[in-house]
């Protein structure tokens, strides 16, 4: 599994030892296969954002983005996927990275999927474009038959 640069995996490093000036990244990882998992992971996302000083509205925006991506895992894959949230604080800012990855069918026409009003599963067709508008950065990589990986970031000053 690929790593995001700058965010060491706690599973590799072991539990972070909290020190006076060294705070390890705050990580939440959940496998999402059902709607119940989606509800759980979006609540975790909101708590994580609030814990790191995000406003209620920003925390809600992140929770909604997480919900969109989690529901995509539930509806578009048969085996679900992983949602990983990593919060990293610096003295005057905080970044939360959201990664959703699956080994599902992939998206055949990515440009179309990112368009408003396009939907394959009777949705509103604003899941992916809507999610992109809720976050500060949005990257999607997908291969048909192999899976999809979406990386988003939200920042607070």
């Amino acid at each position: 599994m690929s790593r995001s640069p700058g965010f060491p995996d706690p599973a590799v490093l072991g539990p972070a030892i909290p020190g006076p000036d060294v705070v390890g990244p705050d990580v939440v990882v959940l496998r999402v296969t059902s709607e119940i998992d989606a509800a759980e992971v979006r609540q975790e996302a909101r708590r994580l954002a609030l814990r790191h000083g995000f406003s209620t509205v920003r925390a809600h925006g992140l929770a909604t983005a997480v919900s969109e991506l989690a529901m995509n895992l539930v509806l578009h894959t048969t085996r679900g996927g992983l949602i990983r949230l990593t919060a990293q604080d610096t003295p005057d800012a905080s970044v939360i990275e959201l990664v959703a990855e699956d080994d599902g069918p992939g998206i055949p026409d990515l440009a179309l999927a990112m368009e408003d009003g396009f939907s394959t599963r009777g949705g509103l067709g604003c899941g992916l474009p809507g999610t992109r508008r809720l976050v500060d950065s949005f990257t999607i990589t997908t291969r048909v038959g192999e899976g999809t990986r979406i990386v988003c970031q939200v920042r607070r000053p």
Binding site: R46, G123, G127, L134
Partner: protein
């Protein structure tokens, strides 16, 4: 577990839980439509105070339920939207919620009553006086 539907006069009331499943949605739609069809109610108020997040799937479900009630001849009103939910929905895109809305349950019930009355009641009666 089914989402409970309460009846207040001629209006159905329901409050959606945070972890709503597809099955619960379908049951709720069937239950509400059956009650309206049986003449027990003219409309439905859906309260989303408890819904922590309204994503595009939830928005679709709400708008679809409203459309079902509408083509049956009833009125559906969404009530209790949190400010953060409204902000996020607008940020995400246009026309996420395609239904009548009200500030709260009370306003929702009043709106159903008013909308049904404005078209002459359930059976479109011609006013007698």
């Amino acid at each position: 577990m089914r989402v409970p539907i309460l009846r207040l006069g001629r209006v159905l009331l329901t409050s959606l839980p945070a972890d709503l499943t597809d099955q619960q949605v379908m049951d709720l739609q069937i239950d509400a439509l059956a009650l309206i069809q049986a003449g027990k109610a003219d409309g439905l108020v859906i309260d989303i105070t408890a819904a922590d997040v309204v994503d595009s799937y939830m928005a679709r479900i709400l708008s679809e339920t409203a459309k079902m009630v509408k083509i049956m001849g009833g009125v559906a009103v969404l009530a209790g939207m949190q400010p953060a939910v409204a902000l996020t929905l607008v940020e995400m895109g246009r026309d996420m919620i395609d239904m009548e809305t009200a500030f709260d349950l009370e306003g929702g019930v009043a709106k159903v009553g008013r909308m049904v009355a404005s078209r002459g009641g359930r059976h479109d009666e011609v006013p007698t006086a």
